[in-house]
Symmetry: C2
């Protein structure tokens, strides 16, 4: 290799390290998704404030879904939830949706305590629908994989907005 | 085709439509990312509550970045921000990070108003570092693409935690 070619290589190496995209020491990561596997084709709100805003402005009920990545009950529900076409379509067309792994500061979102998985509906009037419950008296907002039909029924209840009931 | 084969086809079609993953009427979407292009290799907090929790528990400063997808100033800053290897590495190793498109209910995050792009640092003691500002007196927490060096200097300031200054 000539001296000129060697210089060129050095310059190219220097340039490439300057403009190289950052890669963590531990190796390249898969970018985080907002859906976290609960429906990759759905449009998720990022925060509760954002969810409330969308719910009001679109006049659609908000579903808030609390879960944890290392909770086997959450993971089991997630699989059924993501695979159910009717549920996914209804959420996409008629709901504003938010999934959270950290509790908010709003105590209304934990009517009977903080646990996962837990699904709370909020009316566009910003009223938490504490009346829409699952089948477990000790964890009223919990759902198991077998409860998807009940969840679909509860979604129908949430779609009957409070204002129209007045 | 025999009657048996025709029945089999019908059953398969019925099965595939039952188990088909949901696809929106408007066509398949690209799943939303938490980074929104500000650093796909970084680990982003989803909400302010989550960011504060990580900041306290890891004793690292939190950077909160307000932006909008349809704001050209945000988009111009994003490009420089995502491409700067030093900035991305420092954020990954020494910061907790959060990008938001909707304002939170915490007024401390808008010391001189709500505008984008806006970058606010929060100390692990949960004190908003209103003292760490950019170069524009009318929008003290705004940065332009040319201000990346200043932003890096401000990140160094944020890394000097308030507790150690007492």
């Amino acid at each position: 290799m000539t001296r000129a070619a060697a210089s060129l290589v050095l310059v190219l190496v220097a340039l490439s390290s300057t403009f190289a995209k950052y890669v963590p020491k531990t190796g390249k990561r898969i970018p985080q998704s907002l859906s976290r596997g609960w429906g990759d084709q759905l449009i998720w709100a990022q925060t509760y404030e954002e969810g409330l805003y969308w719910s009001r402005s679109r006049n659609k009920p908000l579903m808030v879904l609390f879960h944890l990545e290392d909770c086997p009950h959450s993971q089991a529900l997630k699989k059924v939830f993501a695979d159910n076409t009717e549920l996914q379509r209804t959420l996409d067309e008629d709901f504003v949706i938010l999934n959270l792994m950290y509790e908010t500061t709003d105590k209304h979102l934990s009517p009977d305590g903080q646990y996962v998985p837990r699904i709370i509906f909020v009316d566009p009037s910003m009223t938490v629908r504490a009346d829409i419950v699952g089948r477990y008296s000790n964890r009223m907002y919990a759902y198991e994989p077998n409860d998807v039909k009940l969840l679909l029924d509860n979604m129908k209840k949430a779609k009957k907005l409070l204002k129209s009931e007045l």
